[in-house]
């Protein structure tokens, strides 16, 4: 204990010391605000140089190798600085310290506003990258545009769909639900037929909840510069809690935390019979749940009234950090990474789900058979979901923090099996308080 503590304390003081340096260097930190154009990017690639790229995507290594082969003057150092929040913490610290941040960094869509708002990311329209708009799906393009600035280029996307274990569904004679009412009924039927089986596992996941609210038509977070409104009791949100409360309160959800070993086991043995999740899931299922090969299928996400509508769940892109000493070269690498066909092919091969419309509409991609899914052409479902994503969603400019306290608030409703609206109200209160204490103007 004491060793751990002193380590934690040491980290804290290093961060603290780093913060001091950061405040001293603050006046020079934003110095690389260069203007340029597409020709500047080509010139930068020609001139070459060194870049650092933080990413945890499985395709990063092969992409960097292909890039270095195509542009031998450029040397890209790939660093896996941890997955999602782990990386964001490091990035945040490096930005605060004024040095140590990478040139190009992977950031998920929900976290982009947080870094954009702190003015830590380069506006890529200065390099003419806003011309690439037509290449990406509308929802992912919307996610990398914050306050009128293009702060990244989309890489993958996660339109949601219903992944279900067909062998379990068949065994108990359960039809694939198309509406949420049918889904709840399927949950009851399955659990009644075999008490060890659950339609899904959910112990409270902020990313899932926000996506479900998104699909239900809720728009709880309104952002206008530093003026924020938070309403986690709007019509759409209540539509979702109306459905999900039944599952939580009737004990119809497994309580296995997502991404734990037990969760993967549950996906393999059929005790967790379905997942409502982003289109990047097939690659995860194939690699982490190999035992269930042939069992799983994909269907459109259930809806409230039969009109197809989906939401994004996860997914992200890459951004150029303002600290970069060579932002033009960084932007050029980013342009190649997320728009060059060679790079995107590598990305698709690694099991990624694209954000580029050319690939989403490519018959070869759409018509691909997946052995894991019993030969189903799952991309037909997933690319349609991509088109059905509802517009107008935004995340909070402090969504990373918001998600970190989700368990303290909404998680309590899950744990006590009580009304999710109570937990959401609690979440809202804490988010309002935090926002105001951080200098935003937050209204309920």
């Amino acid at each position: 204990m004491s060793i751990a503590r002193s380590a934690a304390r040491r980290t804290l003081s290093v961060v603290a010391a780093a913060a001091l340096v950061g405040s001293l260097a603050a006046c020079s930190a934003g110095g690389s605000d260069a203007a340029g154009s597409a020709t500047d990017l080509d010139a930068a690639l020609e001139a070459g140089g060194k870049l650092t790229y933080w990413s945890w995507t499985p395709s990063a290594e092969a992409q960097v190798a292909a890039f270095e082969k195509a542009y031998p003057n450029v040397d890209v150092e790939l660093v896996n600085a941890g997955t999602n929040t782990e990386e964001y913490t490091k990035l945040q610290n490096a930005i605060k310290a004024g040095s140590g941040a990478p040139d190009v960094v992977q950031i998920e869509y929900y976290a982009i506003p947080q870094f954009a708002l702190a003015d830590s990311l380069v506006d890529l329209s200065a390099y003419g990258l806003d011309d690439l708009e037509d290449q990406y799906s509308a929802s992912t393009w919307g996610s990398v545009n914050v306050d009128g600035k293009l702060v990244g280029l989309p890489q993958d996307s996660g339109p949601m769909a219903l992944f279900y274990n067909a062998s379990v569904f068949d065994q108990y004679g359960i039809a694939v639900p198309t509406t949420w009412d049918e889904y709840v009924q399927a949950a009851r039927d399955l659990h009644a037929a075999d008490p060890t089986k659950y339609i899904a596992s959910d112990t409270g996941d902020s990313g899932f909840t926000t996506s479900m609210i998104w699909q239900a038509g809720g728009r709880p977070f309104g952002i206008d510069g530093t003026d924020i409104t938070i309403d986690l009791a709007d019509e759409g949100t209540q539509k979702w809690t109306g459905v999900w409360n039944q599952l939580v309160q009737e004990d119809l959800l497994a309580t296995t935390p997502g991404w734990s070993d037990e969760w993967f086991k549950g996906l393999a043995d059929g005790s967790i019979a379905s997942l409502v999740i982003g289109a990047w899931m097939p690659g995860v299922l194939e690699s982490s749940v190999p035992d269930a090969a042939g069992d799983w299928r994909v269907a459109p996400m259930p809806t409230y009234d039969g009109t197809p509508v989906a939401a994004e769940n996860g997914g992200g892109g890459q951004s150029v950090v303002k600290q970069s000493k060579n932002p033009a070269l960084a932007a050029a690498f980013l342009r190649w990474l997320n728009s060059d066909p060679e790079s995107i092919d590598i990305f698709l091969e690694s099991g990624g789900f694209p954000s580029t419309t050319a690939d989403l509409e490519d018959p070869d991609f759409v018509g691909l058979d997946y052995d894991y899914f019993g030969g189903q052409k799952i991309n037909e479902v997933l690319t349609q979901a991509s088109k059905d994503v509802a517009s107008g969603w935004s995340y909070l400019p402090y969504q990373v923090y918001a998600n970190s306290i989700f368990g303290d608030t909404v998680g309590q409703s899950y744990a006590n099996k009580v009304d999710l609206d109570e937990g959401l109200a609690d979440w809202q209160d804490q988010l309002v308080e935090y926002g105001n204490s951080q200098g935003f103007t937050v209204d309920k």
Binding site: M1, A8, A17, A19, I405, F440
Partner: protein
């Protein structure tokens, strides 16, 4: 501990007064040179962070609007923060229950191994100490698998018993589960402190006790426990510090019981999440300073009480 003063002290040559004052300045500088390596590191890794944390705790930096001096506002806000007090109350409860159990077990183990009645005492010594050698993170992951109530040992037990009896991750049991891990980890360490204190008791005391007809229990109460008092005070202080700094175990188990272990489960977790998830470095520094002060005061009181008994 009762130690006889070393005889060398009596024989140490007393330097002539005159010479000493003449060389005083020079030898002081020489002494400083010897202390310097320690002093520099000490200032750099201990004093500087403390000073910087105090400095941080007097400011408030916002995502929007920059940095401002706020005096003691952060302290006032913390003292009125129910999340902080909830976490604090939890570690106090942990301290009051887990530490006596752990030290009691360590004491029994040390006395048993020292009793000379145990076969293969060296084996027991190493086995009891072994968990301390397992890195805390690995230990907690391992216990996490044992506790797992869907697929872990707990689940197997429940299947066998036919009902949900063993639920280590339930709200009412989580602190017990953590206490069990901490006890498992640190019994051996504390046992070793006690055992080494027992080994330095002069054997003639035992011989005298035997001549006086004292039984083994009388030897324990009359000789061993008084001799252990200093070691017990030290072990208690270590354990108090450890309890207030509880972090690793709950933080790792959080992935398995996310709704039960909150981000403010212990003061240290609260400080960690304030700074790393919320970027509230100032509030975090304030938690660290307040917890440091509370720990220092309580450890000092324990030490005073311990040494007062010793004088009596």
């Amino acid at each position: 501990m009762t130690t006889t003063s070393p005889p060398t002290q009596l024989a140490a040559p007393t330097e002539p007064r005159a010479r000493r004052s003449r060389t005083r300045n020079r030898s002081e500088w020489k002494g400083l040179a010897f202390v310097a390596p320690f002093l520099i590191v000490f200032l750099l890794v201990f004093i500087a962070p403390v000073v910087y944390s105090v400095y941080l705790s007097l400011f408030r930096e916002q995502l929007i609007g920059g940095n401002a001096f706020v005096g003691l506002d952060n302290y006032l806000a913390l003292l009125a923060d129910p999340q902080f007090w909830e976490g604090f109350g939890r570690v106090v409860l942990f301290l009051l229950v887990q530490v006596p159990i752990m030290l009691g077990l360590a004491l029994v183990a040390a006395l048993a191994i020292d009793s000379a009645r145990l076969h293969a005492s060296g084996f027991f010594r190493i086995v009891i100490f072994l968990p301390y050698a397992v890195p805390a993170v690995v230990a907690v992951l391992m216990w996490g698998f044992i506790y797992g109530d869907n697929f872990g040992l707990a689940a197997n037990l429940n299947d066998w018993l036919g009902s949900e009896v063993v639920t280590p991750f339930a709200r009412n049991w989580i602190l017990v589960s953590i206490g069990n891990i901490v006890t498992w980890e640190f019994v051996g360490y504390n046992m070793l402190i006690f055992y080494s204190a027992l080994r330095v008791i002069p054997t003639d005391l035992y011989e005298a006790a035997e001549l006086d007809g004292a039984g083994p229990m009388r030897v324990i109460t009359g000789i061993k426990l008084p001799a252990l008092r200093g070691a017990i005070v030290i072990a208690t202080i270590f354990s108090i510090i450890g309890s207030f700094q509880l972090f690793n175990e709950p933080n790792i188990l959080r992935t398995l019981a996310p709704n039960i272990i909150t981000t403010y489960f212990t003061p240290n977790m609260y400080a960690y999440n304030l700074s790393f998830a919320g970027q509230q470095y100032n509030a975090s520094a304030t938690v660290a300073i307040v917890m440091g002060l509370i720990t220092a005061v309580i450890a000092y009181v324990v030490q005073l009480r311990g040494s007062r008994k010793e004088e009596r």
